[in-house]
Symmetry: C2
Subunit: 541 residues, 2 copies
């Protein structure tokens, strides 16, 4: 690095961050004025718009993403989580990698492009059981989960469990929720038809939206109505003015009080600021960083912000909307303005009206509003959608691959490989609503439970007798050890009496602890004995 080279550090690997780095790379080609670093959680850039197509497999698993190193050959890319930003010392602190040390990156100019997140914190049940849909990992996990429940439904004999397996709930009626729901609906119906997974009328796909109509912020009422008609015609059960309140492993609970038994729950809401932004001592408005028309953070000379995490004023009044097309244009301008400050040139002010809006509705249908005048729907809008986004895919190789995937998808049968990379977690947090069973008498015992919050009832039903309450347990107590220690089916049913949060420890790890830690088995057995007292057979759980 030359002595007066400035260090520009970009936080975030989405549209805002990556396109800023690209613009800087181009401008700095033969200019040693600055060097650029970018910090991203993933080592690839995600072309979010096409992510829902991963669900159905219309494009390959990796077709929506491009490695950052390929896009940004002259940028130093750090693939790490950010621990914190020290605005005083002008340093970004990264979370540890293999060596457990904090890594510090000094900057002269900081660009914040962290976007937003789907945040289930403070929403008990959603945190544990709702799947989000922001990243490639989310999309692949959802796809694998769908294939899993369809496989299970094809061999399940209990009609209640089949119904749970074949019910799919999506919360959120913006572009993201609508696109996910449409793709999911197409995919599960297609697979169920091809495989004869039970009767098609057992399938149920529900879309929840808190507002009066879907896409209300995105497109005019006429297009929104059109979208609703298309979704309903495809068999989607559309619930307006309805929110998702909580969830358990086998149900979604709605603001109407209704409980929908299901094993698949996706939520694209609520959207929240990136947690790092809340922690920064920068001027903010509703979770967004306030900047001037040049995208410099109010009151700072060396901190900039763009994209979904910034509130960028438009000369026409109002603020730049959080879309990819805006982020890309903001990036170009921001790169220009940083270099302008370095070279003492004049900065430019952001002004872009937007080219239009596009939303896919699954099988050969979409809605589009172009240039604020042209409104398209149906196959024409779908064709516009594919064409426009294909041109916008970064890089030649990516375009070739997506084109080939689309072509092959027309020719070859649906691909339904379930990619299971992770074994079920050894320790997981679960949430139940009152009345729901954590497990039933005679179930296979595969986990040990610690109550974090709420109360449970332990009960037993012996043949020909009414159910008998054996005990009530509270936070700090544990249950489920007996079936594990005795390697036998559950001897009682455990139900939530209140909203309940438990930590479940898988059987294998429970045995590792009990077999190795002296006195642990003894103290668990003591508790079991104490509990056993009221019932003569001595087994409570």
């Amino acid at each position: 690095m030359q002595p007066n080279t400035r260090r520009i550090v970009i936080l975030g690997g989405g549209f805002g961050g990556v396109y800023t780095a690209r613009a800087l790379e181009r401008a700095l080609k033969n200019d040693p004025a600055a060097e650029v670093s970018l910090i991203s959680k993933e080592n690839y850039f995600t072309f979010h718009t096409m992510l829902p197509e991963v669900i159905s497999g219309e494009i390959g698993l990796l077709d929506t993403v491009s490695p950052l190193h390929g896009l940004l050959p002259r940028t130093r890319v750090y693939v790490r989580e950010i621990e914190s930003v020290d605005l005083e010392r002008k340093v970004v602190r990264l979370q540890p990698g293999f060596a457990r040390r904090i890594h510090e990156i000094p900057y002269d100019h900081l660009v914040i492009a962290l976007g937003n997140v789907t945040d289930f914190r403070g929403l008990p049940g959603l945190h544990e059981h709702a799947m989000s849909f922001k990243s490639l990992a989310d999309a692949i996990s959802l796809r694998n989960h769908l294939i899993h429940v369809l496989e299970e439904a094809s061999v399940e004999i209990d009609p209640l469990v089949r119904r749970e397996l074949l019910t799919f709930v999506v919360a959120g009626g913006g572009f993201s929720g609508v696109e996910v729901c449409a793709e999911l609906n197409d995919f599960v119906r297609k697979v169920a038809r091809e495989r004869r997974v039970g009767r098609l009328d057992e399938l149920r796909v529900v879309l929840l939206h808190s507002g009066e109509r879907i896409l209300e912020r995105e497109v005019p009422a006429s297009l929104g109505k059109y979208a609703e008609k298309i979704l309903r015609r495809r068999g989607i059960d559309l619930r307006l003015n309805t929110r998702l309140v909580t969830a358990s492993p086998a149900a979604a609970i709605l603001s109407t009080g209704e409980r929908i038994p299901c094993r698949t729950l996706v939520s694209t809401v609520p959207s929240a600021p990136h947690p790092l932004i809340a922690a920064l001592d920068l001027p903010q408005n509703k979770g967004k960083i306030t900047v001037d028309g040049q995208m410099r953070v109010t009151g700072c000379n060396d901190v900039w912000a763009l994209g979904d995490c910034a509130l960028i004023p438009l000369p026409s009044g109002g603020f730049a909307p959080p879309t990819a097309q805006h982020a890309v244009r903001e990036a170009t301008l921001l790169a220009h303005n940083i270099l302008a400050t370095l070279h003492g040139r004049e900065m430019k002010t952001f002004a872009f009206a937007g080219l239009g809006k596009l939303g896919a509705l699954g099988r050969r249908s979409a809605v589009a509003e172009l240039m604020t005048h042209v409104r398209l729907s149906g196959i024409l809008a779908w064709f516009a959608w594919r064409t426009i986004y294909w041109f916008k895919l970064p890089g030649f190789g990516r375009k070739v691959k997506v084109g080939l995937s689309w072509a092959l998808d027309l020719l070859l049968p649906t691909e339904t490989v379930q990619l299971r990379l992770n074994s079920p977690s050894a320790l997981s947090q679960l949430h139940y609503e009152p009345g729901e069973a954590v497990f039933l008498q005679n179930d296979v015992g595969d986990a040990f439970y610690m109550i974090l919050d709420g109360e449970v009832e332990i009960s037993r039903e012996d043949e020909g007798q009414p159910p008998q309450r054996l005990a009530v347990m509270r936070a700090g107590e544990f249950f489920g050890e007996m079936a594990l220690l005795g390697r036998q089916p559950r001897s009682a049913t455990v139900r939530a009496l209140t909203p309940l949060t438990v930590l479940a420890l898988r059987g294998r790890e429970f045995h590792a602890l009990v077999d190795h830690i002296p006195n642990l088995r003894g103290s668990i057995e003591q508790v079991m004995e104490r509990r056993g007292a009221p019932v003569e057979t001595g087994d409570a759980t």
Copy 2:
């Protein structure tokens, strides 16, 4: 099902099982004599031979596999783990799915095609830290891990950690180990060159083999020597007569006593029988089920076995070797013989000499022995390898996709997307060898540790003073809570005094437990206080 339809149940979705089901489907097309079920852990068939190519991304992530439903449209496919087989009651018991009930499948004829597994049980350290290479999930996990360590190496400043990150150890000198090592070597060198991840001479790839020469059981000495020459020329550090003894998170320990610091350890050995087979009361020899020349299990009328889990006598003496080409032919014959018993026709006896052997050596090189006479090596063998296996890929769609992937691989830059589907496990078992550090003073504290086996020393080094031993802890004791409770760096170093096994609980889950379970914080703090006594500042870990 018609009243006298027989139920044929096949265990295993590898070459033996899938090709038996395919042959039965063909033969039973218009014959209601039997219906076929197949039980597989995964919902796809894996074309193992090409699995190593997934590492380098020469073929797409899913190009080596085909969904079972597509291959076997008329077979009932259960995607489940098998709990047990009851030979008396003639029932296969499946592990629970979403509903925690055992599912029972009755059979009239049982076909066992469970193959073998890589089994690290009883090998401390390998169980925790060695990656196996049997399945698609293994291949993708290894690829993602390689990309991860290369990313980290590109930003790591500590030279010792860089060396660990850039060292790759593969154990096993059979076809599988050699192919994995060759692909891994090509891939990491190519990425390191393209990305300028430090100096190329920092890269180190080690292949361990317990025998005198690699591929000793697979090909004649001349071809084995040729393969060794190729691998050495590509920079692989080949260690013959050397076994992997144990491992820790940052090292492989060899039978020579040498300790190789590394963050990547793959082992394709030891191969062991499928655990279910050991539990079956069937005649066995060295972990394989003994069958007659018709593949009927010795002494049984309704149980059959084939593939890597069966010991099939050849008329020429000896037994059928465990290769895919044998399994496929065994499958055709076995299908014929089952139907022959149903229809009272004559059975056939297995006799197949093998067509040859093929092993890839990475970049445009291979060894081949065809028809026992023709020996090929180099690019000719590589071309034979690709051609033969391409023809053997099941299904037209699969052939098209693999062909396209190979073509694109020549044209487009290396794809290096790191697919992280799973967050690090909340609870994981770790193994350390004497002298190794679990963590160092001033490290970031991110986990709580429970000792399952062995002893640790807690020590502290204050500036200008010699290291001071604070305590020794044993099985059942815990450490690491202080940095978590105080949200501060580690105040001491913890090292293994003996071979050590610990359970590590991630910080987030530790806090969930401490914050919710009454008295837990109190009792941990009591222990901390007690420990604190010998040191004045009161902090031991």
